[in-house]
Point group: C2
Chain length 118, copies 2
């Protein structure tokens, strides 16, 4: 799945995540999206292209303006993949619960603290 590379890579940049957060509020043109950033217009255009290629946004042409909005494809691809990790983590979690359940009561509390591996 080459799309996964693009989708995750797109989200690894804070500027692009901010753009998506803005689009979560509704459609916006390139200029509107560029406004809050200390960055040139071409830079934002490139970010948008990255997001579009990753299937995270779509654009429509409305005269000279090109309003962008969120798209599903990228998210769906990531979610499908992440689901695998989520269930694996849940399984480990359950296994740990089983181990803890089999332990003498006193030692449980102390051990439980170390559960969310940091």
């Amino acid at each position: 799945m080459p799309n996964l590379d693009a989708a995750f890579s797109a989200l690894s940049d804070p500027t692009r995540r901010a753009i998506l957060a803005r689009l979560a509020l509704g459609e916006a043109t390139v200029m509107q999206l560029a406004e809050p950033f200390e960055m040139t217009q071409p830079a934002v255009s490139k970010h948008l292209k990255v997001l579009e290629t990753a299937g995270l946004i779509v654009r429509r042409v409305e005269g000279a303006k090109h309003p962008c909005r969120l798209a599903n494809d990228g998210m769906e691809a990531m979610d499908r993949w992440l689901e695998m990790l989520r269930t694996a983590l849940a399984k480990n979690y359950d296994r740990l619960d089983a181990v803890l359940a089999a332990m003498p009561k006193e030692s449980k509390a102390a051990k439980k603290k170390g559960r969310k591996t940091r």
Copy 2:
């Protein structure tokens, strides 16, 4: 959140996703993880460091071996952020449903096909 950068960036590489998929089956040492790849051991070590920094895996030391397993932190950070996007997309989806509901019956079917923005 600087961790988000690291987590999404870590998942953007197919080798690292494969490593995580392997770890979803259970703990594995560095050598075990390196085995399926046509890649040197130092390369895999670097990938593991990236995954560890991103909070996606943890390692324990067991003599000369360093078994790795999945960790929660990275996933949680991503999930928290993705939740925002998910709800925004769902909102757009609902809005579209409302628009479609207000349309004459015949034109609905044709329009619905274009729903998953591509």
